[in-house]
C-alpha cells in the first residue's frame, strides 16, 4: 500500500548513478534529471504526508540486508508522522535549492558533479530519515557527511575550500566515534539494531540507569558533531566556503538538523535518562547563546547566517533536552524553510556584489527589491516576530524550557532571542539600507533564483500556522511523543513567556536600527570601547586556535613520536638483531683461520686444560 515510499529515496540515488556514468558530459541534462527526480520524490512525499495526516500511524517495511550468525541487519523504512514531515521538508528544500542552483551555478564547468552530489545527498538524507535501524541511520549519517565534504570542497582548487571540507568531515567524525560506540553498547545489550525492537527492549527496563545514560550521551556525541553543537561546532562556519546553495540545503536546512532528528527519533532512549536529557539541554542552551554572541561581531554575510544556524540548532537541541519534543522538531521544520531562504537570499546578494563582506554591500534595497523583501521576511521569521513561522516554533521552545524549570537555560534562551533579532537586523540594515556603494552594478537575480526564494518566503510566513491557536495547535496532535504529550499540554505562564520574548525580539530589532540604520550611536566607537570583548567575539572565542594548540598539535605530535619510535626503536631493534648476528658470525670466523698451527695450538691448550682439571 505504501510501497511507493521506497521510490522517495531511490529516485535520487538512481539519478546519482545515471549522472556519474552516463550524463557526466551533458551538464544541462544532468541538472534537469536531478531536478526532475527530486520533484517526483517531493510529490510522492506529499502523497505520503497526506496519507499520514489521515492515518497517523507507524508503518514499518524492511528487507534483510545481510545476516551474520544470529544477527540480521536490515534495510527498511519506518514511516510515522515525523518521517512524513521530514520527507516533505527535505525533498522540498532540495528541489528549490536545485532549481535555484541553475541560476547561481550557471556556467560552472563541473555542473554535473555538482548535481550528482546534490542527488546523492538527497538520497542519503532521505535514507537517514526513513531508517528503521541503527545501521541504516549510521550509513545515511556518514553518506551525508561525504556529500557535505565533497560539496564544501566543490571548488577544490581553492585551498580554503579543500581544507574546510576536510575539517567538516573529520570534526563530525569525532562525534561519530561516540555515536558508533553508543550503538555498539546498546546493541550488545539489546541484540538488535531495529528501532522499534530497541524501544521494546528499553520498556522492559533491564538496562541500568547508568548504562542508559552512558548510551544516550554517546549517541548524542554523533548529534553534537552533525548538528555542530559546542564543542564540535567549529566546522560549520568554515563550511561556508562551499557554494551558497549547498550551504542552504546541507548546512542550514537538512543535514545539520540530522542531529536534532536523531535525538527526536530516539527520544524513547533519551527521555529515559534524566541525566542524559540534562546534558542535551545544557549543550543546546549553551550553543544557542554562545553562537548568538559570535554572530553579532562577524562581517561575512554567510558566516553571520551560519552562526545563526548554530544558535537555532542549539534551540532545537535545548528544546528536546527539556522534553519539548514537539517544540524542537517543529522548529526544525520552520527553521529549514526560513534559514534556507536566508541562505539563498545571501547567495543572491553575493551573486550581485561578488563579495561576502557586509560592508561591501549597502543600499541594495533599490536594485534588489525581491531579495530585500524575502530577506526581510526570513529575518522576521528568524527573529520570532508574529505571525511569522519562527515565532510559533520558538515560542513553543521557550515554553518548554520555562516549564522544565531550568531557570539558567530559560534566561539564556531569552537573551538569545535578543541576540537573534539584533544580528539578523544588523545584517539586513547594513546590506539593504543606507547608501549604495560607488561603482556598484548590483541587479536583481534572474527568476530561476527569485522564484525558489519567493516560495520559501511564503513558507517562512505560513509554516508556523500548524502551531498557532488558529489551527488549534494541530502540530501537537500530529508530532508527539507517547507519554510526554500530557506534560507538554500543561502550559503554564504561556502569556508571560510570549510577551517577554516579543519584548526581547523587538528591542533587538530596535537596537540594530539605532546602531546601523539611524546611526544614533556609532558602532565603530562601541567596538572600540569594548575592544577586548569585540575581539573575543570577532575571533570566535579563539576556539579554533585552542584546538590547533591542543587536539591537533597533540595528534600530530603523537604521530611524529610513533613515526620516530617505529624507525629508530622498533626497526632499530630489528637491525640491531641483524647486526649482532653478523658480529657474532664475524667473531666466530676469527676462529677459523685455516692455519694448521693455530688449530694445533688450540688443541694443545685444550688437552692441557683437560689434563689439568683431571689432575687437580
Amino acid at each position: 500500500m505504501l510501497n511507493y515510499a521506497w521510490w522517495i529515496p531511490l529516485l535520487p540515488l538512481i539519478t546519482f548513478v545515471v549522472i556519474i556514468f552516463l550524463t557526466g558530459k551533458a551538464k544541462n541534462l544532468s541538472s534537469y534529471l536531478s531536478i526532475l527526480s527530486t520533484f517526483v520524490s517531493f510529490i510522492l512525499s506529499c502523497k505520503l504526508f497526506l496519507y499520514l495526516i489521515a492515518h497517523p500511524e507507524t508503518v514499518e517495511m524492511s528487507v534483510e540486508w545481510f545476516r551474520t550468525g544470529r544477527i540480521s541487519v536490515e534495510l527498511g523504512m519506518l514511516i510515522d508522522p515525523l518521517t512524513g514531515m521530514m520527507l516533505v521538508v527535505v525533498t522540498l528544500v532540495s528541489l528549490l535549492v536545485q532549481i535555484y542552483s541553475r541560476g547561481y551555478m550557471h556556467g560552472d564547468p563541473a555542473l554535473s558533479r555538482y548535481y550528482a552530489f546534490l542527488s546523492l545527498f538527497t538520497f542519503s538524507m532521505l535514507g537517514l530519515v526513513v531508517a528503521n535501524n541503527f545501521v541504516q541511520i549510521f550509513i545515511g549519517w556518514e553518506l551525508v557527511g561525504l556529500c557535505s565534504y565533497t560539496l564544501i570542497g566543490f571548488w577544490y582548487q581553492k585551498p580554503e575550500a579543500a581544507a574546510a571540507g576536510k575539517k567538516a568531515f573529520i570534526t563530525t567524525r569525532i562525534g561519530d566515534v561516540g555515536f558508533m560506540i553508543g550503538i555498539l553498547l546498546l546493541f550488545s545489550h539489546a541484540q538488535t539494531f531495529n528501532f522499534l525492537q530497541v524501544e521494546e527492549f528499553l520498556h522492559r527496563g533491564i538496562l541500568s540507569p547508568g548504562l542508559l545514560t552512558l548510551i544516550a550521551v554517546l549517541i548524542f556525541c554523533g548529534a553534537i558533531g552533525k548538528s555542530a553543537q559546542f564543542p564540535l561546532h567549529v566546522w560549520l562556519p568554515d563550511a561556508m566556503e562551499g557554494p551558497t546553495p549547498v550551504s542552504a540545503l546541507i548546512h542550514a536546512a537538512t543535514m545539520v538538523a540530522a542531529g536534532v532528528y536523531l535525538v527526536g527519533r530516539l527520544f524513547g532512549l533519551f527521555s529515559g535518562s534524566a541525566q542524559a536529557m540534562l546534558v542535551v539541554a545544557y549543550i543546546g542552551g549553551f550553543t544557542a547563546i554562545f553562537a548568538g554572541t559570535i554572530a553579532v561581531a562577524q562581517n561575512d554575510i554567510k558566516r553571520i547566517v551560519a552562526y545563526s544556524t548554530l544558535s537555532q540548532l542549539g534551540y532545537m537541541v535545548l528544546a528536546l533536552g527539556c522534553g519539548g519534543y514537539t517544540a524542537g522538531l517543529f522548529h526544525l521544520m520552520t527553521h529549514a524553510f526560513f534559514k534556507a531562504l536566508l541562505f539563498l537570499a545571501c547567495g543572491s546578494v553575493i551573486h550581485a556584489i561578488h563579495s561576502q563582506d557586509i560592508w561591501d554591500a549597502g543600499g541594495l534595497f533599490k536594485p534588489m527589491k525581491i531579495t530585500a523583501i524575502v530577506f526581510l521576511l526570513g529575518s522576521l521569521s528568524l527573529a520570532g516576530i508574529p505571525p511569522f513561522a519562527g515565532f510559533w516554533s520558538k515560542d513553543e521552545i521557550l515554553i518548554a524550557v520555562h516549564n522544565s524549570g531550568h531557570t539558567v537555560l530559560f534566561v539564556a534562551s531569552i537573551i538569545t532571542v535578543f541576540l537573534t533579532a539584533f544580528y539578523s537586523f544588523r545584517l539586513w540594515f547594513v546590506v539593504f539600507t543606507g547608501k549604495e556603494k560607488e561603482g556598484s552594478h548590483a541587479h536583481e537575480s534572474p527568476a530561476v533564483m527569485t522564484i525558489p526564494m519567493i516560495i520559501l518566503a511564503i513558507l517562512a510566513v505560513v509554516a508556523g500556522l500548524p502551531g498557532s491557536p488558529w489551527m488549534g495547535g494541530w502540530i501537537h496532535g500530529f508530532i508527539h511523543f507517547e507519554g510526554l504529550h500530557e506534560m507538554e499540554a500543561e502550559h503554564g505562564g504561556h502569556g508571560m513567556v510570549m510577551y517577554l520574548s516579543l519584548a526581547m525580539a523587538a528591542s533587538g530589532i530596535i537596537t540594530a536600527w539605532i546602531a546601523y540604520k539611524a546611526r544614533w550611536i556609532s558602532y565603530e566607537s562601541m567596538a572600540g570601547t569594548f575592544s577586548s570583548a569585540h575581539s573575543l567575539l570577532f575571533h570566535k572565542y579563539w576556539i579554533d586556535e585552542l584546538y590547533d594548540l591542543t587536539v591537533i598539535w597533540g595528534t600530530m605530535f603523537t604521530a611524529r613520536v610513533s613515526g620516530l619510535f617505529d624507525r629508530y626503536v622498533v626497526d632499530g631493534l630489528v637491525n640491531g638483531t641483524a647486526w649482532v648476528t653478523i658480529a657474532m658470525g664475524r667473531g666466530a670466523r676469527t676462529f677459523q683461520t685455516g692455519l694448521v698451527q693455530n688449530y694445533m695450538l688450540i688443541i694443545f691448550i685444550g688437552i692441557l686444560g683437560f689434563l689439568l682439571t683431571r689432575l687437580l
Binding site: 545481510f66 544477527i71 575550500a161 568531515f169 555498539l184 595528534t555 600530530m556 613515526g563 630489528v574
Partner: protein, 486 residues
C-alpha cells in the same frame, strides 16, 4: 581437479614462459595474462558451484604423497578458503596487467610472478600441514626476487629484510607443525583431522607452546606489531605489482594461517591468548594509524595503513564470535581489494611523476580528473565509508568484538577517525589547491590503467552494497567453527 588446476595453471604458464623467446615480450605478456586469467574464471566457477549451506570441505582432492610420514596431497576449500582464492586470483591478474609496462628481464619477471601465484593459491587450498608449509615457502622466493631485482633504490636491503624476517618466522612455524605432528595420535599432518578431533584436549601447556611457535610465523606475515617493520621497506621498494600482491594477498596468508591452523587445531590456546591478541590488535590499529599519519612517502603511508587495517582483522578474530570472525574474514577480502587498488593508483602517479613525496604534489585534481575520481573512491573505501566495501567488515569486527572487549573495541573505533585524518590529509595535499606548475604535463589515467582498476573498483562498490556475495559463503563454516572455542 578444479583446485589443482587453479593452483598449477599459473605454474604451467610460468614454465611455458621460460621456454619462450626472450625477445618476444608481447607474447610473454599475453601468455602471462592468459595464465593468470584462467584461474579467475575457474575461481568464478568454483564460487558458482560452491554449496553455501554446508560447513564441510568441498572440491576435496586427496592422494597419499609420503605415506610413511602420513603426508598427503590434500586440497579443498570451505568458507575460509574460497574468499581468499577469489581475491588471490583476481589480484594476481590485476598485478599482471599492471606489469605490462615492465621493461627489464620481462621473461623472468612474469615467470616468477606466476610461480608466486601458484604458491599463494596453494596456501589457501592446502589442507595438509606439510603441503601448506611447502606452498608457504614457495611464496617467499619469487617475492624476494621481485623486490630485489625489479624494486626501487634500496631494493637489496628491502628484499633481504623481507626474506630473513619471514624465514625466521617460518622456522618457528615449522617447529610448531612438527610439534603438532609428533604429539598427535596417530601422527598426522591432516589439518581437518587435527582440527576436528580435538586431539590436544586438556593439554594446555602443549597447546600454548605450539600456538606461540605458529603465532610467530603468522604474526610476521600479518604483520603484527612489533614484527611489522619489514612491510614498509618491502612496499616502498617493491614494484607496483609486488606491492599489490604483498598487501592484497601475502598479509592475508598470516591471518588465514591463524584462522585455518592456529585457532581450530589449538582451540584452548586460542582462548588463552585471545586477550593478548585483542591487545595487539588495538596496538596495530592505533599505532599503525599514527605512524601512517607521520609518513611523507605516499606508499609508506598506505603500507602503515595496512598495519592499521589488519588490526581490525585481528580484533574480529580475537573475539571468537561468529560476527567477529565473519567481520575479520570479510575485512581480509575487502582490505585486499581496497589496498590493491590504492597501491595500483600510487603506481599510476609514480610512473608519471617519479616521486611519491606527498608534499611534492598539489592540485593534481584539475590535471587528472578521472584518476582523482578513482583515487577518491579508494580513499573513501579505506576510510570506511558506508556504501563501499570496508565499512561492513569494520562494522562487523566491532559488533563482534564489542561484547567481549568493550574498552579495546572502543579504542579501536578511534582508528576509523584516524584513518580519515591521514587519508583525507593526503588527498587534500596531493589533489586539491592550486596546481603545482611542475605537474602541468601529467596525463590522466590511460586505457590499460582503467581496465586494470575497474574490476577492483566495481567490487569495492558492489560489496559495499551487497556484502552477502562474500558473507554468505563464509557464514556457515564460521558458524560451525566458533562453538569449538566455547
Amino acid at each position: 581437479m578444479l583446485l589443482s588446476s587453479i593452483v598449477f595453471i599459473p605454474l604451467l604458464g610460468g614454465l611455458l614462459i621460460l621456454l619462450m623467446n626472450r625477445e618476444n615480450e608481447w607474447a610473454i605478456k599475453t601468455m602471462a595474462t592468459i595464465a593468470a586469467a584462467i584461474p579467475v574464471i575457474l575461481a568464478g566457477w568454483l564460487y558458482y558451484c560452491f554449496d553455501q549451506s554446508t560447513a564441510d570441505i568441498q572440491f576435496a582432492e586427496k592422494m597419499d604423497w609420503i605415506p610413511s610420514l602420513g603426508v598427503s596431497y590434500f586440497l579443498g576449500v570451505d568458507g575460509l578458503g574460497l574468499p581468499m582464492v577469489i581475491v588471490t586470483s583476481l589480484l594476481s591478474l590485476v598485478a599482471i596487467t599492471v606489469s605490462w609496462n615492465i621493461k627489464t628481464r620481462v621473461k623472468e619477471y612474469f615467470a616468477l610472478f606466476l610461480i608466486l601465484e601458484t604458491g599463494m593459491m596453494g596456501v589457501f587450498v592446502a589442507l595438509d600441514l606439510f603441503l601448506f608449509y611447502i606452498f608457504w615457502e614457495l611464496v617467499l622466493v619469487p617475492m624476494y626476487f621481485i623486490i630485489g631485482v625489479w624494486g626501487g633504490p634500496r631494493k637489496e636491503y628491502a628484499a633481504i629484510k623481507f626474506i630473513i624476517y619471514t624465514v625466521v618466522g617460518s622456522v618457528f612455524m615449522l617447529l610448531g607443525f612438527l610439534a603438532i605432528y609428533f604429539t598427535s595420535d596417530p601422527h598426522t599432518f591432516n589439518i581437518i583431522e587435527l582440527s576436528q578431533g580435538n586431539q590436544f584436549k586438556g593439554m594446555l601447556l602443549f597447546q600454548n607452546i605450539a600456538y606461540l611457535a605458529l603465532f610467530l610465523g603468522f604474526a610476521v606475515k600479518v604483520p603484527i606489531f612489533p614484527f611489522h617493520t619489514w612491510l614498509p621497506d618491502a612496499h616502498v621498494e617493491a614494484p607496483t605489482a609486488g606491492s599489490i600482491i604483498l598487501a592484497g594477498v601475502l598479509l592475508k596468508m598470516g591471518a588465514y594461517g591463524l584462522m585455518r591452523v592456529c585457532f581450530p587445531i589449538l582451540p584452548e590456546a586460542a582462548v588463552y591468548f585471545a586477550h593478548c591478541l585483542a591487545g595487539l590488535a588495538l596496538i596495530n590499529i592505533l599505532y599503525g594509524a599514527f605512524t601512517a599519519l607521520a609518513q611523507t612517502d605516499l606508499k609508506k603511508m598506505i603500507a602503515y595503513s595496512s598495519v592499521s587495517h589488519m588490526g581490525y582483522v585481528l580484533l574480529g578474530m580475537s573475539a571468537l564470535t561468529v560476527t567477529g570472525f565473519n567481520g575479520a574474514l570479510l575485512q581480509m577480502f575487502n582490505h585486499g581489494i581496497i589496498t590493491g587498488a590504492l597501491f595500483m593508483l600510487v603506481g599510476v602517479i609514480y610512473d608519471r611523476a617519479h616521486t611519491r613525496e606527498i608534499a611534492g604534489f598539489g592540485g593534481i585534481g584539475k590535471q587528472m580528473p578521472a584518476y582523482t575520481g578513482l583515487m577518491a573512491v579508494a580513499v573513501m573505501a579505506a576510510v570506511g565509508l558506508p556504501g563501499l566495501a570496508g565499512f561492513i567488515s569494520e562494522l562487523l569486527c566491532f559488533v563482534g568484538a564489542f561484547p567481549v572487549y568493550k574498552l579495546i573495541t572502543s579504542g579501536a573505533v578511534l582508528g576509523v577517525l584516524l584513518s580519515a585524518v591521514y587519508m583525507l590529509g593526503m588527498f587534500q595535499r596531493i589533489f586539491t589547491g592550486e596546481l603545482n606548475p611542475k605537474w602541468a604535463e601529467l596525463k590522466d589515467a590511460d586505457f590499460r590503467e582503467w581496465i586494470s582498476l575497474l574490476p577492483l573498483m566495481a567490487l569495492i562498490v558492489l560489496l559495499g552494497f551487497y556484502p552477502r556475495l562474500i558473507l554468505d559463503v563464509m557464514n556457515m563454516t564460521i558458524t560451525h567453527l566458533i562453538p569449538r572455542f566455547q
